[in-house]
């Protein structure tokens, strides 16, 4: 028997038209599950974005000897900029440092007034790609002992941040995986029930001589269509929510580093469509097996 694609497609469409309740139920279930999954992806992406922005705020400070010459300091600066772990280096002169100190203690004129204009040394503020590299960078700077007097970085904060952020990211990945498993189970439950409701039809088809494939293909197309519609709607909703959120956070939480680029729209769309389609097809396939055995 030659495989009849057109027939299967027509059958699938006809069935969805005739059983709107079941089709809508499947689509709604897929939509909700994948919406939750997509929102999970969204939150994951933003939290990861914020966390990595926060991690990049960690810096190593290298204070120069009071008598270091400008050329030496420039040379060290260039060397440090060449380190692979380093993302950005800023030079802070002694005067700038005092100015900042004064600003910090501006409400305490009693402290500030006693101090001279050059009691603080020049320094390099070294931004790192990864706060875990602070130790390495500090050790390399030891080599510049002739110029650099003192190296300062918040070791304990870095350690905590490292622990917390890695746990948070693991947690988010775990939650996303959990949602995925839950979605697969929930959607395939729905599919199983809707195929269970039509088990007698499947039996009759088999009895009048239809092969397994002939019976199955329209159901698979139905599953595919429902999965794609559910997944597509979910992706649209997720992307819409994301743009709303990014816009809102720009005004409501200006100091939290949230960016649109944290979420890759095509990735979300792809994942949700693929998840919907594959659960729909595979769920239909597996649910049908027991009813085809006649």
């Amino acid at each position: 028997m030659r495989f009849n694609l057109g027939f299967s497609l027509r059958e699938a469409l006809k069935n969805m038209r005739l059983n709107p309740l079941m089709s809508i139920t499947s689509v709604v279930t897929t939509f909700i599950c994948l919406l939750v999954l997509g929102v999970g992806l969204l939150v994951s992406a933003h939290v990861e974005g914020v966390v990595s922005a926060v991690r990049q705020d960690v810096s190593v400070e290298a204070f120069f000897l009071q008598d270091a010459s400008q050329e030496e300091m420039d040379r060290v600066r260039e060397t440090v900029e060449g380190y692979p772990e380093v993302s950005e280096v800023t030079y802070v002169s002694g005067e700038e440092a005092v100015e900042r100190f004064r600003q910090t203690f501006s409400e305490r004129p009693d402290i500030v007034s006693d101090l001279g204009d050059d009691f603080l040394p020049a320094s390099l503020q070294i931004q790192l790609e990864d706060p875990g590299a602070a130790d390495d960078v500090a050790r390399r700077l030891e080599g510049e002992r002739s110029v650099v007097e003192n190296i300062d970085y918040p070791q304990r904060t870095i350690e905590r941040l490292d622990a917390v952020t890695s746990y948070v990211i693991w947690g988010l990945h775990g939650a996303t995986a959990l949602f995925l498993v839950a979605s697969v189970l929930l959607i395939s439950n729905t599919i199983r029930l809707s195929i269970f409701a039509r088990r007698q039809e499947i039996e009759v088809m088999k009895l009048v001589g239809a092969s397994d494939g002939f019976v199955r293909t329209p159901f698979l197309f139905e599953g595919l269509a429902q999965g794609l519609v559910g997944g597509g709607l979910a992706a649209a909703a997720v992307l819409w929510l994301n743009s709303l959120f990014v816009e809102w956070s720009g005004t409501a939480l200006p100091f939290v580093p949230i960016s649109v680029t944290a979420v890759n729209s095509l990735f979300v769309l792809g994942v949700l469509l693929l998840a919907g389609a594959s659960i729909g097809v595979l769920g239909s396939f597996l649910s049908m097996r027991r009813f085809l055995k006649i």
């Binding site: 009849n4 039809e201 009759v204 009048v208 239809a210 092969s211």
Partner: protein, 232 residues
């Protein structure tokens, strides 16, 4: 004498643990024969039909159709076996989401026939059973007898070599029943092997065909030109 089209060799069918539906049935139906299966309610007529279709497996004994032992047909090839058999089911077994015409067409579609030949043949066959006007109705919009006639139309639309009909006139008035029986007779005359399970005494007596009578799962009578209730 032709070769055996349907051969039951010492077939026993037990449902569940202890419902003996057929007991040591030997039955040989030749190609091109017309056979009535008669017997009281529960005597095993439908079970014979189901065994021929390979819907259920015999508990003991073996069945051959067209020279092939059913037990040797792999699951994958069962649809091919069934496409050689047109079947009118006692409970019709129409597809609820298909119209009368679509139900009939489905039996042609499973064999991969051309859409054009389907479009020509389905209306022909539906008007043959008197349902030309009902072709676009769904089963739940048809009367019992109309559903039965759709089931009949579906069974012989692809002109299979074997036609088995389980109580095909149970929901039909005597006139329509006679039309259907004459249709079966015509189908038989073009060479089809026909097996009809029926309770219709008038029909059996009128057609004067071979009659196999069952009683509690055993063949108790087998006459070449029989009536519904011969004295044994």
């Amino acid at each position: 004498m032709g070769e055996a089209m349907i051969l039951f060799d010492n077939v026993t069918k037990v449902y569940g643990r202890d419902t003996v539906a057929l007991e040591r049935v030997d039955l040989e139906i030749e190609a091109g024969e017309f056979v009535f299966l008669v017997g009281a309610s529960g005597s095993g007529k439908s079970t014979i039909m189901r065994l021929i279709l390979k819907e259920v497996e015999p508990t003991a004994g073996s069945i051959s159709v067209n020279g092939t032992k059913l037990a040797s047909i792999p699951r994958r090839r069962v649809p091919h076996h069934r496409r050689n058999i047109g079947c009118v089911f006692q409970d019709f077994k129409l597809l609820p989401n298909k119209t009368a015409a679509e139900n009939v067409a489905y039996a042609m579609e499973v064999t991969g026939q051309r859409r054009r030949s389907i479009r020509i043949k389905v209306p022909q066959i539906l008007s043959l059973v008197g349902l030309a006007e009902k072709s676009e109705k769904y089963p739940h919009e048809l009367s019992g007898g109309q559903q039965q006639r759709v089931s009949i139309a579906r069974a012989f639309v692809s002109q299979p070599p074997i036609l088995i009909a389980d109580e095909p006139t149970g929901n039909l008035d005597p006139d329509t029943s006679m039309d259907i029986m004459q249709l079966l007779d015509r189908i038989h005359r073009i060479g089809t092997t026909v097996v009809v399970a029926t309770h219709d005494r008038d029909m059996v007596n009128a057609l004067q065909k071979r009659v196999v009578a069952l009683e509690d799962g055993r063949v108790v009578r087998d006459k070449v030109k029989g009536a519904y209730a011969d004295e044994v």
